[in-house]
């Protein structure tokens, strides 16, 4: 299998489609950037799909081509890790709408032979999942041993279990929610308005001049980054400490370390992310409400589900707080689904799922291994 051209690092594929979208339009062709790790076993039963978050990508456990940094979840994915490259066949796909090789506003619209820009169709989380299912068809994987994701990746993971219940044996949903709250939508709207208020955005048609709305995107990232942390985490990391200076400057430079840190987060983000992709993906998240298609009763979404579920939340995560995970757990219990759930303690807010947390690894490891014994 290792000789198969479909498998390996930094792969691109162009599937014919069309992929019908929730908005009523369709996407064709469907371009997907993805990576695979490990070896698919003879009966294709060891496949695990990792779903990435809003600004994540397919480089889950390999060096990022733009930043040169390690993969974003090497604590969870690798040899001997809970998602074990020696034992599992792991797939991670750039979501459609994003900008790392999958169809999105920066890719070419076949009708005009120009970048899509704002002509790109508005997507939903379910559309992203259906695109991933297309890729699995292409890779010859009928059933996933597990689908795993944190944050927006968790939304995809849980949506997998309702769209393709027969294709998912187990789902791990970390620091996520079954719908976007008013507060979630509100923060995203701040980010979108920051991008669209940048004069260089120009209705999304900035690709030809290679002059993107970097200032707007940086501000969007800065605002969002605050929501990924906790007050305690910020206080511990920065407090009111000043940045490379002895006293306040009585000006508007980044006097405080926390300002300097946020500016750095904003500036480094624009090098690797497309502003229009940020608009499209945040919109998809805002539209996410798993219960909507089931008359508002979330439990109906999981009726008769044979999938095993494992949910994890973090006590300092105020973006997707424990109550959101508990809502899912109650619905799973009401539906009689096999559910596990734990709230873990961490100082680092929503970002905790990306950071070192031995308890999270222990739980995911045991949960996945239990599914392999049966």
């Amino acid at each position: 299998m290792s000789e198969d051209e479909r498998f390996g690092l930094d792969k691109r594929v162009r599937l014919l489609g069309p992929l019908p979208l929730d908005s009523g339009s369709a996407l064709a062709p469907v371009e997907l950037g993805y990576e695979t790790y490990g070896t698919l076993n003879a009966d294709a039963s060891n496949a695990i799909l990792i779903c990435h978050a809003l600004t994540g990508d397919q480089y889950v456990a390999s060096t990022h081509p733009v930043t040169g940094k390690d993969g974003w979840w090497t604590r969870m994915v690798g040899p001997g890790k809970p998602v074990d490259t020696d034992r599992h066949f792991i797939i991670c796909v750039n979501v459609i709408g994003s900008c790392m090789g999958s169809s999105g506003p920066a890719t070419i619209n076949p009708a005009t032979e120009q970048p899509w820009g704002m002509e790109f169709p508005v997507l939903t989380i379910a559309d992203m999942v259906r695109a991933q299912a297309l890729l699995l068809d292409h890779l010859g994987i009928e059933c996933l041993h597990a689908v795993i994701g944190g944050s927006m990746g968790g939304m995809q993971a849980i949506n997998w279990t309702t769209l393709y219940p027969e294709r998912v044996k187990s789902a791990v949903v970390i620091a996520s929610a079954a719908r976007h709250s008013a507060q979630n939508i509100a923060f995203h709207e701040v980010g979108r308005q920051a991008i669209m208020a940048d004069p260089r955005w120009r209705g999304g048609a900035y690709y030809a001049d290679d002059d993107p709305p970097s200032s707007g995107l940086a501000v969007a990232r800065m605002a969002a980054h605050i929501t990924y942390l906790s007050e305690a985490g910020l206080t511990e990391k920065f407090g009111r400490r000043l940045q490379d200076r002895e006293s306040k400057t009585f000006g508007f430079d980044a006097d405080f370390q926390v300002e300097s840190y946020l500016r750095h987060q904003g500036i480094s983000f624009v090098d690797r992310f497309d502003a229009n992709s940020y608009l499209y993906i945040t919109r998809a998240m805002d539209y996410f409400d798993l219960a909507e298609a089931y008359g508002g009763t979330l439990a109906h979404a999981f009726k008769g589900s044979k999938t095993r579920f494992c949910l994890i939340s973090f006590d300092t995560d105020w973006l997707y707080p424990t109550s959101e995970s508990r809502t899912i757990v109650h619905a799973l219990n009401a539906a009689g689904a096999a559910a596990s759930f734990v709230e873990l303690s961490s100082a680092f807010g929503h970002d905790s799922f990306l950071l070192k947390n031995p308890e999270m690894n222990r739980i995911v490891d045991g949960f996945l291994k239990a599914g392999e014994n049966t």
Binding site: R308, C310, R326, V329, H330, A331, N333, A334, G336, A338, A339, S340, F341, V342, E343, L344, S345, E359, R362, I363, D365, G366, F367, K369, A370, G371, N373
Partner: protein, 196 residues
């Protein structure tokens, strides 16, 4: 196979194979694992302590973190053959409501609890004049999670007043089963099987 706590062993011995079981206050999942491995039981658990939940989940058990006082309402009526509440009744805010919930969710319910009328407890209070601290009730009055101490006779009265059926009763002294006679004085620990 590690040895089960004696009250859990009694429960395990009296559950029919392949039953659907909800273990409320399941700890690290010892009983659930035994039921799964020995009786092919489909077991689900509810546990308040995160570290216990993590241990149970890492054994491959389906356990959710939650509180018996607030999280039972999500479970549908009659969705389990048995609901189990072992050594947890005395920690709940409304034991009577919890027992109602057990028999709503489960067709039958196992309830086990330490007997506050055991002679050692009585002697401790009578001669010591202090709140009893015993093997099964090891905490002091101010840090104990046991906010509703109960005796075997109290529990029987609750069962009677609630018009519940008693399908089985077992009593433990030390780690051994003891007789029904004067259980309220001689049993350290009781296990009841109830039905509505």
């Amino acid at each position: 196979m590690s040895k089960l706590r004696p009250d859990l062993q009694i429960i395990a011995d009296n559950i029919s194979p392949k039953a659907r079981v909800l273990d409320i206050g399941c700890g690290d999942g010892a009983l659930m694992a035994a039921l799964r491995d020995q009786k092919q039981v489909d077991a689900r658990g509810l546990e308040i302590e995160p570290a216990n939940v993590a241990s149970a989940v890492s054994k491959g058990l389906s356990v959710v973190q939650g509180d018996a006082d607030t999280d039972l309402s999500a479970y549908p009526d009659g969705s389990f053959d048995y609901a189990i509440l072992s050594q947890t009744l005395q920690t709940t805010h409304r034991p009577d409501v919890i027992i109602d919930e057990l028999l709503r969710i489960g067709k039958q319910a196992f309830v086990s609890f330490p007997n506050f009328a055991h002679w050692r407890v009585r002697m401790s209070l009578l001669f010591g004049g202090r709140m009893p601290v015993t093997r099964l009730l090891p905490q002091t009055w101010y840090d104990t999670p046991n906010i509703h101490h109960v005796t075997i006779d109290d529990f029987r009265a609750l069962v009677r007043d609630g018009s519940l059926e008693q399908e089985g009763q077992w009593f433990l002294s030390g780690d051994k089963q003891t007789g029904k006679a004067m259980a309220n004085l001689f049993a350290e620990h009781a296990v009841f099987l109830l039905r509505r």
